[in-house]
Every structure is written in C-alpha cells, then in structure tokens.
Amino acid sequence: MRDSLSVAPGLAAWGLMMGVAMMKSGMSLTESLLMGVMVFAGSSQLAAIPLLMAGAPMWVILATGMCVNLRFVVFSAHMRAYVMHLPLWERLVTGYLTTDLTYVMFTKRFPSHEADDAQRLGHQAYLAGNSIVNWTAWVGCSVLGVVLANFIPTPWGLSFAGILALLGILCSLASSRLRVVSAGVAGAAAVAAFALPFKLNVLVAIAAAVALCLILEESGRVRQEAT
C-alpha cells in the first residue's frame, strides 16, 4: 500500500484531468460520471472520448479501446501464474483493477510466482491494497474533475499532464534497443497515417512497429548465428 500511495499523486492529477477532459469534450454529466467510475483505463478513455464525440461507430470505439489496452493483455499473460489458483470471478476483479503501475510494482516486488499458501495470501493482500489506493485516487479525482470542470480554464492545458503520465510509462517500458525502435516507428507511423479516420492510425502504427521489430530481431539472430 505504501508503494502505491507514493504514486497516487500522479494518478490523482491524471484522474482530475480526465474528469475535466470528459466535461470539456461535451459529454454530459451522467456520461462523464459513468465513464469516470466504470471504465478505469485512462489511456483508452483518452482515445475514446474524441471518437464518442465525433459519433464514430461503436465497434470502432471498442476496437480502439482494445488496441490501446493491448499492453494489458501482455501483462495478464505475465500475471496469469500468480492468480490461476483463484476462482474465475476473483481473477476477473483482479484483472479489472490491475493498472500499469500495479503491474510494474507487483512484478518488481514479487519476481517469482512460485509460492506457498501464506505467500499467495501476501500477493493477494499486496494487490488488493494497491488496487484500493489506485481506484480511490483515480475515481475520486475523476469525479472531482467532472465537478470542477467549469472552474478550470482550458488554456492551462492541464490535459497535457495525461500525455506526460503516459510518457513516463513509455520511458519505463523502453528497456531494450528494439523496444525503443518500436516506439520510434510507431510514433512516426501514427503521425504519417494521421489522416485515417477513427484513430486507425494507432492500429497501423502498432502493426508496422511490431512487424519491423520481429524482422529486425530475426535478422539479428541470423547474423549472430553466421558469426
């Protein structure tokens, strides 16, 4: 819990900004509150808001949310070994509450998933404490942001704080050279393909970056074997 309290201010600032962003985008109070309380995924909310407001088809919005959330699929593959002893609904709740920060801190604290019953209880306690702090900070500040939206002037550009939070997470993921290449390619491709409707540029960019990295990885291995 202490671990997640230390990052809570960042999460809170982001949640606050998210609340403001939803109201400023023209969503109604009910819509903003519902989204703030339920979706619990900052980056996919950020991507979905303009689509919602532009009246994009639902499948496009959901597919975009899915893609932006793809990183969590990877996290869940890693977390699987830690949670498979739990019943299904507890696994779903755990998954729902596992954010970027939870995942990073949890796997840092418990590098091995092999555990006896007492240690498993420790894992669960850590996840639960972490999730409570995160959820409270996020939802509380989202709601606060929705309420305060009319008092915080847009020109301050507070929404940029969300981008900076994602930048921080991006930096923490940049752990190998090919991953940096992946980020560079995806960023450039997303800008180049920006004219595509409904943020499909994000999809194109991910596909291009992953494909290129797989090819580079393959050719790197071939070269290594040759020498």
Partner: protein, 116 residues
C-alpha cells in the same frame, strides 16, 4: 459546454468497461494450460510500447491534424524535460511522477508565460 445524455453513448461506455475487464484479464479467462504461437509471444513484447507511442506522439507534434512547423511549441520542451528527468533518475522511485511534474512546470511556464 455540457451535451445531452445519449443512450447510445451510455451503452458504449458500459461496453468499454467490458473491454477493460476483458483485456486486463485476457489470459485469466481459461484455466486450461495453453501457449501463444512463438511469433505472437515475441511480437507482444514490442506491442505495448508501440501502442503508447502511437497514442501520444501525435499529441506532441501535431495541431489539428497537421505537423507543427515551428520549434516554438511548449509541448516539445515539456516532453524533452520530462523524458530527460526520467532517464536522469534512471526510472527509480518517483520517476513517473517527476516526469509529469517537471514536464508540466516547463509546459505551463512556456505556454502561459510566453504564449507558445
């Protein structure tokens, strides 16, 4: 400022919640042991950072669908300062929070102070 509440939007929001649950629990769903194909496993290693980059880079260097043509943009300096801070701290401790704070200080100073 505030729009009408629209049933369709509400349904979409609930469905987005389902997407959150589904993506975050993706590999928790089936209790059968199974593995992804090898290439997909390797590909997933590069997908998260690509997704993040694809979402944020256009927000940093574009204005209303066009690449910015001036270097006098508060966002560029803010991003440089934030990332600089992260790598200077080597990602330890409060590095993500530091990235937000340092970036925002630079951003607000240039944006409100100089009008960039």
């Amino acid at each position: 400022m505030t729009g009408e509440t629209d049933l369709w939007t509400l349904i979409t929001i609930v469905a987005l919640t389902a997407v959150t649950v589904l993506t975050r629990s993706f590999f928790f769903l089936s209790s059968k042991p199974w593995r992804l194909p090898h290439w997909a496993q390797r590909g997933l290693q590069y997908a998260p950072i690509a997704a993040l980059s694809a979402v944020i880079v256009p927000e940093m260097v574009m204005t209303q669908g066009h690449l910015i043509t001036t270097w006098q943009d508060a966002r560029l300096f803010s991003v440089a300062a934030g990332a600089g801070w992260y790598f200077w701290r080597k990602g330890a401790g409060q590095a993500v929070l530091g990235t937000i704070v340092v970036g925002m200080v630079v951003y607000l100073t240039l944006h409100l102070g100089l009008g960039w």
